[in-house]
Subunit: 227 residues, 2 copies
């Protein structure tokens, strides 16, 4: 079984990416990045998902991106928008997040001698994020293939983004087919300590619409006060 | 003055890169990465250098790459070679280090709205490192130009590697012309707490040969027991 490093945030997309990597026969090494996000319930969810889906190992690496500020996800003085999805790049965008996370995955892949990295980015429902586009993933892969010992030795590393062109509903359908327990995932930008979702941030709205569209019961734990 | 993010390890090369960025009229934001290296004297040196050279700000971001292992610089159970420079990639190579450091610089640059990142990589004296080659730097720049908000808005980000094709002696000559105080720099892979060098690791050997070749007095603080 070829080893794969899978970025696992604890959200719906990355959990599905892990389930897909596992279903393709990879020995999966799940990597979560503690980047100073508002809540740790995402990381708790990631640990449960890694076990549930069958990763052979789960590690959490801490990088405090709040050092730089610039995002509502790491800067507590910026409010999470709750009024509905707007066009353009949202304030919840974290500068260079996917580049940093893929770089960390690359480091672990190099140590493990793995040539496969999975990331659950999605260009359909997150078209506002520059680092969720297919041309970005290809450019990262090209760079990675010049960056490592393995590259010098002629091996070819691949960045797999199996959700890239799927809608949220299609992602949920795939995960369902693979037996993924979505009640373990936390997508909310401002989940509470128990991992319960607010229901009104962009991430909650996109997720709920996805379950509706896929005609799958929504297993999300919402807060009691959800209107 | 255009803002530039400059990666600053505290060693000779990155200090020279900072001096060059400053001499080109950039407002310099120095970034050090605490990646779990064996000693912190490098980071202490970086702070002194940032002030001495005239950076407007210096930040340290922590990423514990010892989480992954794989390098003598982060793994205390692997010895630093002291017997002289060998061909091939040395055990002091840190997996994906430059990719991770450039990614972090990219995040800060995005927040600062800076389009210039400086890194003191050098392809001449470190030809064993895959991520010190010109084609790698170009590939990172291409990726970065697809990764950010600025990229979407049409701005062009540049990765400057002004030492790329210089020998160690030429680097020292440039820094000397710019008034850089090399006694503040720490290059040794196993410096002690006071920043004093071992004199026998690869980094010490390359550095000392550079001063000799440049015919510049070596200001390095060696440990008293240096043979």
């Amino acid at each position: 079984m070829a080893k794969a490093v899978v970025l696992l945030s604890g959200g719906l997309d990355s959990a599905t990416a892990l389930a897909i990597a596992h279903s393709r026969g990879h020995e999966c090494f799940a990597l979560s990045v503690d980047y100073g996000q508002r809540h740790v319930s995402e990381l708790v969810a990631a640990a449960a998902l890694a076990t549930s889906i069958g990763a052979v190992e789960h590690r959490v690496i801490k990088v405090d991106l709040s050092t730089f500020g610039g995002s509502a996800l790491t800067d507590l003085s910026t409010a999470i928008p709750a009024g509905g999805i707007k066009p353009g790049i949202p304030v919840t965008y974290v500068p260079a997040r996917n580049t940093i996370m893929l770089s960390l995955a690359l480091a672990w892949a190099e140590v493990l001698r793995s040539l496969d990295i999975f990331i659950g980015v999605n260009a359909v429902d997150y078209s506002g994020y520059p680092d969720c586009r297919p041309e970005y993933i290809t450019a990262f892969e090209n760079m990675a293939n010049l960056a490592t010992k393995a590259a010098i030795e002629g091996a070819k590393l691949r960045i797999h983004a199996p959700l890239l062109n799927l809608s949220k509903a299609q992602i949920i359908e795939q995960g369902n087919l693979l037996g993924l327990d979505y009640s373990l995932t936390v997508s909310c930008y401002q989940a509470d300590e128990a991992g319960r979702a607010c229901g009104v941030c962009d991430s909650c709205r996109i997720r709920r619409a996805g379950f509706e569209s896929a005609q799958v019961p929504d297993p999300t734990h919402y807060r009691p006060l959800f209107p």
